[in-house]
């Protein structure tokens, strides 16, 4: 029942925001970076549904463009972190031994840095830009993925069907590919959804701090940072981007909950 509700709200939200990001690739009402001195700080109107900012840029167009930046970055980040983390987690968790111990020690050391801080430090090394954000966030989240996947593998490893696979005469590689990995897919999918939310949030936070995608590129974080100076005179500037981040997180979290409810019972069917 609750799973249904999660899905019914979460899926359309994510679909709508994702759709907006897709549309922005081809079309936005105005150019997201097109300035217009005459139209500075205009309140929402029929021409500019969400108003204009301090350079007279159309907020709706920038929100749409920001959506595609955010989603692109978040998707790539999730891909990097999940791929790297799953590979390392499955291999170390299944094979154990000294490689596992060394990798886990390094992993624990990296986990000692809060994700955003680690990403921030990596951003400093790599310099600003979308690619850097993806690399930084991907690297920052990989240790968490490793830890979670490895935990899952450690418990799967004790299942009798994995022992049965060894008894049949299957190689380690085959057992990992045929019996371990497929049974990790469900928790990894759930993890990927929450990771997507974190990535959107972190990218916005980095941009908000001025360490993300550099202006004038439209990102939700940049827009929020710029809006701070006009909070009293133009409150709409801080409402729209924040609301977009919140709705994205809401949709993704609900979707993740719905997925977990659907995938977990079967996983843990004793």
């Amino acid at each position: 029942m609750r799973a249904r509700l999660n899905l019914v709200i979460g899926l359309p939200l994510v679909a709508a925001l994702g759709g907006m990001a897709l549309v922005a690739l081809a079309w936005t009402p105005y150019g997201p970076t097109a300035t217009s001195i005459r139209n500075r700080l205009k309140a929402p109107s029929s021409q500019h549904w969400l108003g204009t900012d301090e350079f007279g840029r159309d907020v709706l167009s920038r929100i749409m463009d920001g959506a595609s930046v955010s989603f692109r970055v978040a998707l790539a980040t999730v891909l990097v972190a999940i791929l790297a983390g799953t590979l390392i987690g499955v291999a170390t968790g299944y094979l154990r031994g000294w490689t596992d111990r060394v990798v886990m020690m390094v992993n624990d050391a990296l986990l000692a840095f809060p994700g955003v801080l680690l990403a921030l430090a990596i951003m400093v090394v790599l310099g600003p830009g979308e690619g850097s954000i993806v690399a930084a966030l991907g690297l920052a989240y990989t240790p968490s993925v490793v830890r979670i996947v490895r935990g899952q593998v450690l418990s799967l490893r004790e299942r009798e069907y994995v022992e049965a696979s060894r008894m049949i005469g299957n190689s380690d590689l085959y057992t990992m590919a045929r019996h371990i990995l497929p049974n990790c897919i469900a928790p990894i999918t759930v993890l990927a959804t929450s990771l997507f939310g974190w990535a959107v949030l972190s990218e916005s936070a980095l941009s908000f701090l001025g360490l993300g995608v550099p202006p004038p590129a439209a990102t939700w974080g940049n827009m929020l940072a710029a809006s701070r100076s006009y909070m009293e005179s133009a409150a709409w500037l801080s409402l729209a981007p924040g609301l977009c981040i919140a709705l994205t997180l809401l949709g993704v979290n609900l979707l993740g909950d719905a997925l977990r409810d659907r995938l977990d019972p079967r996983m843990s069917l004793r």
């Binding site: 009798e160 049965a164 049949i168 005469g169 497929p182």
Partner: protein, 542 residues
């Protein structure tokens, strides 16, 4: 003068899930003061829910639809929660199935025992302590003072069940509800705990409602029995009459499902053994850490054993006896530290090729049918997987082999299903099919039926023996259940603390046990003898 009310009377009890699925339908029974009544049934019979309804602690999803529950004539099912709470403890006590999760891990034993007393009896702290100590001594806890300040995790399952019993009996309940109280324990501990329970109850005049699936226990401890199936009462009556002359088909099936010794004596082993184990030692390393190096535990300590072609050798023993580890070590799933193994006269672990050839000829059937099948694979894929390593089979031959093997285990047409669509018994049949599809010459079966319901257990055992007859594999059959072993084994090795204390032919072990441990096991094993002239309660093995 009317007859006094019985201690407990349940009238027309019906339970259902909130969505309306019936769990118990129109159940009526009574328990007299100081009597022992058993409710017998398989999983899904509703016996546990019926017991929970009596004490008013149904899980959130289950509701009472109809019926009354009367304790000493008072309808407690109609009473408000606070009145019920006053009854729980001194009126109704309950002992649970899983000793590992029925004591609070974050509270000392003393605090958990004391809180019931403090609530229901006005007693000084020192008096509470004295009573707790006294009761712990009664249930055979060695150092009761130390036990009071200890946490549950410091005790074994059997000890925890004693502590649980002590904490419940401390309040001297009029009725003790025991829900499968010893299912999680091994045979010897089971007998100790139940003897203790019945003894304590007799001393305090407590009646017992014993929920169990084990007919042997019923025969030994309960004067009266009711049999439940799918939420309904099937048959009720005096235990002896009910078990020796069951009237209803389901009761007959239950009694018939009890494993029995095959009449013909097992053949003497002929020729050279196929598998020889000599002075086998397996140690559990213990967790390595910087500051504590746990003393390695010898799980298997110098075991020697022979298995001849077409022979079923059973390894029996209590939990921690090392029987499971022995089976795994023989197959190479855990390494052995010392000793020799030979298969067809050669060491199967000497070379890669030898190991490979051994793995192709030896298989294993695991205990837990819920974790031994990959949940993401269809039945036919699971059964076909071992044939990957039989390259001489063409795809068509492999498919036919899979089909034939599924036929063998009675699962024709189940190939497209996933494990979660199967019952426990069906899953175990799949596991057997997977083990046999390559026609192995040697199979280790690790408690293959102990997770199954009685009637299913009988079916799977019958299937297993039939397949063993047909394919002629040799088998190492690991079990804690003497009744199962008696029905299936040719020879038996009894293990205790990692050693084999006695080996012999089945009839010798059962009829002429030599070692004290074997005798204790046999005596503790709940069995019924259904010859009409002899008493149902079998005093002890000859």
């Amino acid at each position: 003068m009317r007859a006094p009310d019985p201690l407990l009377r349940v009238e027309g009890l019906s339970l259902a899930t909130r969505s309306g699925l019936p769990i118990v339908e129109d159940l009526s029974f009574r328990v007299d003061r100081g009597a022992v009544l058993a409710i017998v049934g398989e999983s899904g019979s509703g016996k546990t829910m019926a017991a929970r309804a009596v004490i008013g602690l149904l899980p959130p999803g289950v509701v009472r639809r109809a019926g009354r529950i009367l304790l000493e004539g008072a309808a407690i099912s109609e009473q408000p929660e606070p009145a019920l709470r006053a009854l729980r403890g001194p009126g109704l006590g309950m002992v649970f199935q899983e000793p590992m999760v029925s004591l609070n891990p974050a509270m000392t034993i003393g605090a958990q025992m004391a809180e019931g007393l403090a609530l229901h009896r006005r007693l000084e702290r020192s008096a509470i302590r004295a009573r707790c100590l006294d009761m712990l001594r009664r249930v055979g806890i060695g150092e009761p003072e130390r036990c009071l300040s200890a946490y549950p995790h410091e005790f074994s399952g059997g000890m925890r069940q004693r502590i649980m019993l002590a904490s419940v009996m401390l309040l001297e309940p009029k009725l003790l509800i025991a829900d499968e109280p010893t299912t999680a324990l091994d045979t010897l501990t089971q007998k100790d705990v139940l003897d203790l329970m019945v003894g304590l109850a007799r001393d305090h005049g407590t009646a017992i409602l014993l929920i169990t699936h084990n007919l042997g226990l019923v025969a030994r401890y309960a004067a009266d029995t009711i049999v439940m199936e799918k939420g309904r009462l099937v048959e009720a009556g005096a235990t002896r009459a009910l078990l020796s002359a069951p009237r209803e088909a389901y009761t007959k099936a239950l009694v018939a499902a009890l494993p029995r010794r095959t009449p013909h004596p097992p053949p003497a082993p002929r020729g050279a053994p196929m598998l020889t184990v000599r002075d086998f030692v397996v140690t559990h390393p213990g967790a390595r850490s910087l500051f504590r190096r746990r003393v390695p535990k010898r799980a298997v300590d110098g075991v020697s054993l022979d298995v001849h072609p077409r022979e079923i050798v059973a390894v029996v023993g209590g939990s921690g006896s090392g029987k499971t580890t022995l089976g795994r070590a023989i197959l190479g799933l855990v390494p052995h530290e010392a000793g020799t193994l030979s298969f067809d006269g050669a060491d199967p672990f000497a070379t890669r090729a030898a190991r490979r050839s051994f793995v192709l000829q030896a298989q294993m059937v695991f205990q837990d049918p819920y974790s031994s099948l990959d949940p993401r694979m269809r039945v036919e894929a699971i059964v076909r997987e071992p044939l990957r390593h039989v390259p001489e089979l063409t795809a068509g031959e492999a498919a036919r082999r899979v089909e034939a093997t599924l036929d063998d285990v009675g699962l024709r047409g189940f190939g497209r299903r996933y494990p979660h669509e199967l019952s426990g018994g069906q899953r175990q049949r799949v596991a057997i099919a997977r083990a046999l599809v390559r026609r192995p010459r040697f199979v280790v079966a690790d408690e293959p039926v102990s997770a199954l319901d009685m009637t299913i257990q009988a079916q799977v055992l019958a299937l297993f023996t039939a397949l063993q007859d047909a394919y002629g594999f040799a088998c190492l059959f690991i079990s804690h259940d003497l009744a199962v072993v008696e029905a299936i084994a040719d020879r038996i090795a009894v293990m205790q603390d990692g050693r084999v204390v006695e080996t012999g032919h089945r009839d010798d072990i059962f009829d002429r046990p030599r070692h004290a441990y074997t005798r204790a096991l046999l005596e503790a094993a709940p069995r019924l003898d259904l010859a009409p002239s002899t008493p149902v309660l079998k005093p002890s093995a000859a």
